[in-house]
């Protein structure tokens, strides 16, 4: 009896479900009358743009894959890597992502290799890349700090909500394989700084609490990215550069130390300095007196004739040292505190003196000093002031602020930010704006 009842139930249930579904499928919207026409896609040509080869490069220089400029441009395998606002996201709140610029083709591509990625969600490996912080490239691996938060339900705004997730720490992305690896959280501390990576070991400064004194210190630390092992050295040194199994560290008083990465022993370095470049000839560095060079063993210290008071910034290539010298100032109009750039209310502005830096270059031994780029400041015109830069071949890739002349008030204003950085041709003096949104102009 029960079996018969079950059979009836089964038949009726299945028939009902199938009938209901079939009825719904049949009653779905019928034939469509109007279709959108997108035409046929025809691939366009990618144009090569002008690029002149040069005998100079940065292949033999240690210290360039760490993005040393204030707005973080780094060179790796002859290409420029930089962070900029995500061009795929047109909203005002668009976050940053990592781009790659090929100086020979002029192409700017996302380092995230997925062409369907919007780079605006945590699906993207570079979502939330900390643009105010440096990244480091070694052996096709990019090491970077990543920081963002989100609500899983998209509606809640309560940070105590279960759906609120905060991501803050170090990540690694392999450009060849597309592998993404989360290296460490940054929950316990609030700052991870000055990253240097050597043979897969990441050196950095972490702000940690001293349990004995209760005080916070910027301690030198390392993490082996393969094993995940973190070492806290308990000293307030800053990692500067690494080569041949050695890491150069600078103490708060600028005295230098050398860490043997394999043994973990710390030895005294080559004097007092910071911010090194290592070349085939030795080291080029800055100390309290100015720009200097020395032999690979630290001997033969030589002043290169640029005093610390004049020196603005410097960058070393295989053949030259490029450096800026403050030689002039110019008065520009900036908003008073709380004012807005570009506001039509000019009474809320004030004049401010800005350094004008000229770019020079010289040989590693200090010879052949040559003026490369002197900003041309003429009335009724616009001009660029070079800031920090990298050099590749005969081109300087430079963080630059542009200034426009306001005839009505006879003063210069800060120009519209229509570029991420510019390319300055040291042979012709031509300037190109480079912008992920528009490509090169």
């Amino acid at each position: 009896m029960l079996t018969l009842f079950r059979k009836r139930i089964i038949k009726k249930s299945v028939l009902f479900v199938l009938a209901a579904a079939a009825l719904l499928l049949c009653s779905c919207g019928g034939d469509l009358e109007y279709f959108y026409d997108y035409g046929e896609y025809t691939p366009g040509d990618i144009q090569m743009f002008t690029y002149e080869e040069s005998g100079d490069g940065v292949d033999g220089i240690v210290g360039v894959s760490r993005n040393v400029t204030t707005t973080h441009i780094s060179i790796y395998n002859g290409e420029l890597y930089f962070t900029a606002k995500n061009d795929a996201d047109k909203s005002v709140s668009a976050g940053y992502t990592l781009y790659r610029y090929n100086p020979k083709t002029g192409n700017i591509t996302y380092v995230c290799a997925d062409p369907t990625c919007t780079h605006g969600t945590y699906d993207c490996p570079f979502y939330g890349i900390d643009a105010g912080y440096e990244f480091y490239i070694e052996d096709d691996n990019i090491y970077y700090r990543q920081q963002y938060s989100f609500y899983a339900d998209d509606y809640s705004e309560d940070v105590s909500s279960d759906t609120y997730t905060k991501v803050n720490g170090f990540a690694m992305y392999n450009m060849k394989t597309g592998e993404y690896k989360w290296l460490r959280d940054n929950d316990s501390s609030y700052l991870l700084l000055d990253m240097v990576v050597h043979n897969g070991v990441c050196f950095y400064i972490d702000t940690l609490n001293d349990e004995k004194t209760g005080e916070w210190h910027d301690y030198f630390c390392s993490q082996d990215t393969k094993t995940g092992k973190i070492t806290e050295y308990g000293i307030e040194y800053t990692p500067d550069m690494a080569f041949d199994g050695k890491l150069l560290l600078s103490a708060p008083d600028n005295s230098m130390y050398c860490l043997d990465i394999d043994t973990g022993e710390i030895h005294e370095g080559i004097g007092e300095s910071c911010l090194y470049y290592k070349t085939d000839d030795g080291f080029i560095y800055v100390d309290d007196d100015g720009l200097k060079s020395c032999a690979p063993d630290g001997s033969g210290e030589k002043a290169l004739g640029v005093g610390i008071d004049d020196l603005g910034y410097y960058y070393v290539t295989e053949n030259y040292i490029y450096y800026t010298v403050r030689e002039d100032t110019v008065m520009i109009r900036v908003p008073k505190s709380g004012g807005i750039y570009g506001s039509s209310d000019k009474t809320s502005h004030q004049l401010k003196s800005v350094d004008v830096r000229t770019v020079y270059r010289m040989k590693h031994d200090g010879s052949e000093k040559t003026e490369i780029w002197r900003p041309d400041i003429e009335e009724n015109s616009s001009f660029f002031l070079p800031e920090d830069f990298v050099v590749l071949g005969r081109y300087i890739y430079c963080d630059c602020t542009s200034y426009d002349y306001d005839e009505e008030y006879d003063v210069w204003d800060i120009g519209l930010p229509d570029h991420r950085f510019i390319r300055y041709d040291t042979e012709t003096g031509e300037i190109y704006r480079i912008n992920p949104e528009e490509g090169e102009k």
Partner: protein, 419 residues
């Protein structure tokens, strides 16, 4: 066939299978109804009202355009304070909902459909630039990175040239596809049915007897596999179709012939398929996943030989899949995110955009890869079950006689020794 029918009768004969199936079906219907009602609350305009408006737009676009121009002039007039400026909150199309909402819905839908070609072109151009750069850097044409970019160009060019989006108000389907709780219910019922097939015989003590018969091994094992596959498929279809019925009744359904790209979240779907075809694919994936779970449970049950252990294993598989699907991944290509039963049953994540797995340097799309692996695993598990089931030792046969003897004599201990 006789054996299959016998196995089916055995599964349907277990009372608890019915109880759990009925409870899960009722629970799924309740959850689906609740979800549909909650989703309806977020609608700008009820779908039936919006459908009527879109039909009007398709039938008489000139009138709608004129109405829209008057509407915009009225807004402009009101903003500038001109006399004669009408009210922008007029109700031409519905007494309840202002025109502004209808135009907003029309604009957003129309813009989304119209710009589809440009968006896909953007993806192709990005991949072309990537490919050019890979070429420039000397990346081998046989590498995964190179092939993957080429495949993206091929897939999206095909989509760009062949996807035909029809003008309509898409409704019903998106809501149905987004509802994924049904998969849990399907898996629980499948697990319950699968746990019954082998362990009930073992528990009753008749398994060794069956094994000892002429067709008690290979044929019986095959019948068990076939019956369980049929039951799993039926369960998946009944649950999916009943869910579809609930969402269809709640929202109605737009054309199943329209391109899948009209569904929100599938804009970058590179497949040239219709909504109806995608619906069929989701059903197939649900069936495939349910069959895989049931066969894995069957294979484990013949090894464990214990109902509780088998059931716990099945629950573990569901739980792990659920966790893998639900936990936070901060990278889209984390394979486990898609390579699990729950994610496969949801299907949306696999189809929303082109994603591939690196198989010996060749990019293989996730849906194809997963379907192939699931099929292979199913065959493998079925083979494992058949093999283990068929291998009964003489001692086991002897044990069967003893067990039978114990039952016949109705004694608990020691009875039947030596039979």
């Amino acid at each position: 066939m006789k054996y299959v029918c016998f196995e089916l009768r055995k599964i349907f004969g277990a009372k608890y299978v019915w109880i759990i199936a009925a409870a899960m079906l009722a629970l799924n219907c309740a959850v689906a109804l609740y979800t549909a009602n909650e989703t309806k609350k977020t609608e700008m305009i009820p779908s039936d009202v919006a459908v009527d408006f879109f039909r009007l737009c398709a039938d008489d676009p000139d009138t709608i355009r004129e109405n829209y121009i008057v509407f915009m002039k009225n807004i402009a007039g009101q903003q500038s304070g001109e006399e004669g400026g009408g009210t922008p909150t007029s109700n031409t199309y519905s007494d309840t909902y202002p025109d502004m909402l209808f135009y907003a819905l029309l604009n957003s839908t129309d813009t989304s459909f119209r710009t589809y070609g440009d968006d896909i072109e953007g993806v192709i151009k990005t991949a072309e630039t990537n490919l050019y750069e890979l070429d420039f850097s000397g990346t081998p044409h046989g590498s995964y990175a190179y092939r993957n970019q080429s495949e993206v160009i091929r897939a999206y060019t095909e989509a760009r040239n062949n996807v035909r989006i029809g003008f309509e108000y898409p409704h019903g389907w998106g809501e149905y596809f987004a509802y994924d709780a049904v998969n849990i219910f399907i898996l629980i019922v499948t697990l319950t049915a699968a746990s019954t097939v082998f362990t009930s015989e073992l528990g009753a003590g008749i398994l060794p007897v069956i094994r000892a018969t002429r067709r008690g091994r290979g044929a019986t094992a095959a019948a068990k596999i076939a019956a369980l596959t049929a039951v799993s498929a039926a369960v998946a279809l009944i649950f999916a179709l009943s869910t579809f019925a609930i969402f269809g009744i709640s929202f109605g359904c737009s054309s199943p012939y329209n391109a899948i790209q009209v569904i929100s979240g599938h804009r970058l779907d590179p497949h040239v398929i219709s909504v109806g075809e995608y619906f069929a694919i989701t059903l197939l994936l649900q069936v495939l996943s349910a069959v895989l779970l049931s066969l894995s449970v069957l294979a484990v049950s013949v090894v464990f030989g214990h109902f509780a252990a088998t059931y716990i294993f099945g629950l573990g598989v569901i739980g792990v899949s659920f966790l893998l699907n639900g936990i936070f991944y901060n990278h889209a290509n984390a394979a486990v995110r898609y390579f699990n039963i729950i994610a496969t049953m949801n299907a949306d994540g696999l189809f929303e955009r082109y994603r591939s797995v690196n198989v010996f340097g060749f990019p293989v799309e996730y849906p194809i890869f997963i379907a192939a692996v699931f099929l292979l695993l199913s065959v493998l598990l079925a083979a494992v079950f058949a093999l283990v089931y068929s291998r009964a030792s003489s001692a086991e046969r002897f044990g069967a006689h003893r067990a039978l003897g114990r039952r016949l004599l109705g004694k608990k201990n020691g009875a039947g020794e030596g039979i």
